[in-house]
Amino acid sequence: MRRALRSLPVTALAVPFWASVSACNADPVHTDAVNALPAEAPGAPAGPYHRAGQPCLTCHGGEGPASTEFAMAGTVFYGPGTTSSLLGVGNAQVLLEDDTHSQFTVTTNCVGNFYLKPSDWAGHPQFPVIVRAVAQIGQSTFDSPMQSHIGRQGSCAGCHAIPTAANLSQTPGVVHLAPQDDPTFMGDTTCQVKPALAGN
């Protein structure tokens, strides 16, 4: 009993200390990046259909706050979004090939989002990676290879940010299949989250 009492002050100090340490994110740059993201869009709660067009690995890159970790992830849109709103394309195939010539294909969900977990393509990607997006939409086949390689960024939107006046020289625009927007394209109207609400 005496021993327990003697150790009590140490315990009393240690518990709040570790609680405070674990509550802090040690990387302020990461914290700022997470905080800079917009809030969840109404109608598109957290899950595979949320935050289309945003840099997925900011939260899903292993530093949190999301618990699910991705190796690569992004959104495939129909057009560049210059003359109409951005709409994701479902069932598009994203074909990846890394520096070892290992290949992996992942398919977008109905808002255009795709992701692969580290275990999906174990040991890969070994950067640099080349990528193309392929889709059949109605009678049209789209095949859009990326013009340069991916150096090391796992989030498409890490480079392909939605253009704004502030970032125009630093983004090639969103990942898209068609060179121009098509106002008649509605996305997957049967999707449980309307593609237009998915967060862009």
Binding site: S148, L168, G173
Partner: protein, 176 residues
């Protein structure tokens, strides 16, 4: 003088020396490799398919690597970061690399280690003395890993430029 006074004097001297203002009139004379060859123009004036800049643009300057404004070796180009001046709009991927982007790339490359660049350009030191090659060869830490190998086309393109006569065919092959 007591030991305490001596210590205080020493600390004050160090602090004052540490606050010395850099000489704004100092000039570092730089012996740099040829700018035209960097852009892809041969000595006889013939335009080549690729020079050093084009190699760096395609192999190093994606937006997630050296196509970032935060990089000391910052590379602009058609398929990456664009140099925007005077509020002009220059979206990526369409308009070819411009003259001011070539100039900015050149200044970035030769300005990384100006004194060492002079020693390499005048043949005192070997090309591998520069981080420009040490990093992609992984002779020192490079976040992008080993992206060149000694003797390969990318290496030849840069090393021959540093020696004064770029192997344009190697530059072109390095993009294949």
């Amino acid at each position: 003088m007591s030991a305490r006074s001596l210590l205080a004097f020493a600390l004050t001297t160090v602090a004052v020396a540490g606050c010395a203002v850099p000489d704004e009139n100092r000039v570092t004379v730089l012996q740099a490799p040829d700018y035209d060859q960097f852009k892809g123009v041969a000595v006889d004036g013939a335009l080549q398919p690729a020079g050093v800049s084009r190699l760096l643009e395609r192999r190093c300057a994606t937006l997630d690597c050296h196509g970032q404004v935060s990089r000391p070796m910052r590379i602009y180009g058609q398929y990456g970061l664009r140099l925007v001046q005077d509020g002009s709009v220059r979206p990526g991927g369409v308009q070819p690399t411009t003259a001011d982007e070539y100039q900015a790339n050149y200044e970035s490359v030769i300005g990384l280690q100006p004194e060492m660049m002079s020693l390499v350009a005048t043949g005192v030191n070997a090309p591998e003395a520069l981080m420009l090659l040490r990093k992609p060869l992984q002779l020192e830490r490079h976040k992008g890993g080993a992206v060149f190998e000694t003797g390969d086309d990318a290496y030849q393109c840069i090393a021959t430029w540093l020696k004064g006569h770029v192997d344009f065919a190697a530059c072109d092959r390095s993009l294949q």
